[in-house]
């Protein structure tokens, strides 16, 4: 009997993304193995890497942006992303991956986005209202995704826009076209929608009596049945189409 690896529920991926995320994480661990082992052998822990990645943005990205050393800013931002990407492989190769590390990683990811958005607002690249709305809706969305993952009722798929926001800021700074503000507006609307759906589903799922356990299955049996029915119809349609293509033309 093969032993199943324990998986952390502390992540902000949807159900369909999770499998893909674990596959990518394993592949990334293999790919980054030589450099990750360099850190493992020097006792550089994943928490240290997360903390280093966390410190880069408030202490270097923000002031360098203020000093208008944009090239250095992007280098720092890329460094932040790379170091953040290394903490997982280092923890897995050092065999000390844990929920504590996962929590630090989530906080680092969110704070990174918040600092970049605040920097963009501070130096006039993002409107304060749109920037604030984007930050708030993003944080709410992440809270609901994590809460639903912990309660084992994950979203199917959620689009996370953090890196696209970084890219929009870069393009806005260098192309002198305001791409960032429309992006912030559209994504704020999307995030509001996800948050609302998350809230409604979570509220429906939670019991009405204080302290009572959640009894309803997620997703509900009716919904599972409907999904299966749709899937079977789609499959039948696909098979019909294949058979039609195989039939010889007269």
């Amino acid at each position: 009997m093969t032993e199943q690896k324990p998986k952390s529920k502390l992540h902000y991926f949807g159900a369909e993304e999770e499998e893909y995320f674990h596959r990518v994480a394993d592949r990334r661990t293999q790919l980054l193995r030589p450099l990750a082992m360099f850190f493992v052998r020097r006792n550089v822990r994943s928490d240290t890497l997360t903390l280093a990645s966390f410190l880069l943005l408030p202490f270097f990205f923000y002031p360098l942006f203020g000093l208008q050393y944009y090239a250095a800013c992007w280098v720092i931002l890329i460094l932040h992303i790379i170091i953040d990407g290394f903490d997982g492989p280092v923890a897995r190769l050092g065999r000390y991956a844990s929920d504590k590390g996962a929590l630090s990683d989530i906080i680092n990811d969110i704070t990174g986005m918040v600092i970049v958005a605040l920097t963009a607002m501070q130096f006039g690249f993002a409107q304060p209202f749109l920037g604030g709305l984007y930050i708030v809706t993003y944080v709410y969305m992440i809270i609901f995704i994590i809460a639903r993952n912990v309660l084992e009722m994950p979203f199917k798929f959620v689009f996370k826009s953090k890196y696209y926001m970084f890219l929009c800021l870069l393009l806005t700074v260098h192309l002198h076209h305001d791409l960032l503000n429309p992006f912030l507006l559209i994504l704020s609307c999307y995030q509001t929608l996800v948050t609302t759906v998350g809230f409604i589903h979570l509220r429906r799922h939670l019991p009405g009596v204080l302290g009572a356990g959640t009894r309803t299955a997620w997703p509900s049996p009716d919904k599972v049945e409907r999904r299966k029915h749709h899937q079977a119809r789609r499959e039948a349609r696909r098979l019909r189409r294949i058979n039609k293509q195989k039939e010889p033309t007269p």
């Binding site: 082992m37 493992v40 052998r41 020097r42 006792n43 550089v44 822990r45 928490d47 240290t48 903390l51 280093a52 410190l55 880069l56 408030p58 202490f59 270097f60 923000y62 002031p63 360098l64 203020g66 000093l67 190769l93 050092g94 065999r95 000390y96 844990s98 504590k100």
Partner: protein, 205 residues
């Protein structure tokens, strides 16, 4: 403008401090167990083999009363940083170097004694970083690491640690020391005894 440079300067200082003390600030946490420390009058027993240090010369008096000695140039070793452990049927001397390299060396004493140098008998090593005490029950190894706040006690499978050249890989169980800084440590079958000054504690594993 000056504020931005000040923030950068603070950032450089914080990063430098993190690089210098990262292991003490963020000790490795894996297999953390909470044990009940009981104060005891027991003395930590001497091992069957005696290891003496004369400068950089390590003198090992084995159980069969034979004596081996070899030089460990460039290392800084204390008597409480030496232990014997059996790995894959071979009896090896664990030598926790607190010098510049901060490695835990596993040495085949016979080979080192024959050739006279530590490196000649070196079977494997891993980087301990902040370790300062070592003990063994023959199979498992205990490393005590100095951390901010309180020492950490790690029980390591040396065979696994050797494979990865990293003590984190072989780490099986860790616990928090009963006092800030430990002076000695001993491991028996399912009991660990630690001491600091005149006080000693023991705990069941």
């Amino acid at each position: 403008m000056i504020w931005y440079w000040l923030i950068i300067a603070v950032g450089v200082l914080v990063l430098a401090a993190l690089v210098r003390w990262h292991q003490s600030l963020l000790p490795l946490e894996r297999g953390l167990i909470e044990v009940e420390w009981e104060e005891t009058d027991e003395l930590i027993p001497e091992g069957p083999d005696r290891v003496e240090l004369a400068g950089e010369q390590v003198i090992v008096q084995c159980r069969d009363s034979s004596e081996l000695n070899f030089s460990a140039v460039g290392t800084r070793v204390t008597p409480s940083a030496l232990a014997f452990v059996t790995v894959h049927g071979r009896r090896l001397l664990v030598l926790l170097d607190r010098g510049k390299r901060k490695w835990t060396n596993l040495v085949d004493v016979k080979r080192a004694g024959e050739k006279g140098e530590l490196v000649d008998g070196l079977v494997g090593w891993w980087r301990h970083g902040t370790g300062h005490l070592v003990a063994s029950d023959g199979m498992r190894l205990v490393e005590v690491h100095r951390c901010f706040g309180r020492d950490r006690i790690y029980i390591i499978d040396p065979a696994k640690a050797l494979q990865g050249h990293a003590f984190g890989v072989g780490l099986e169980v860790m616990m928090v020391a009963p006092c800030r800084q430990l002076g000695r440590v001993s491991l028996r079958e399912n009991e660990i005894v630690v001491s600091a000054g005149r006080r000693a504690w023991k705990a069941k594993l």
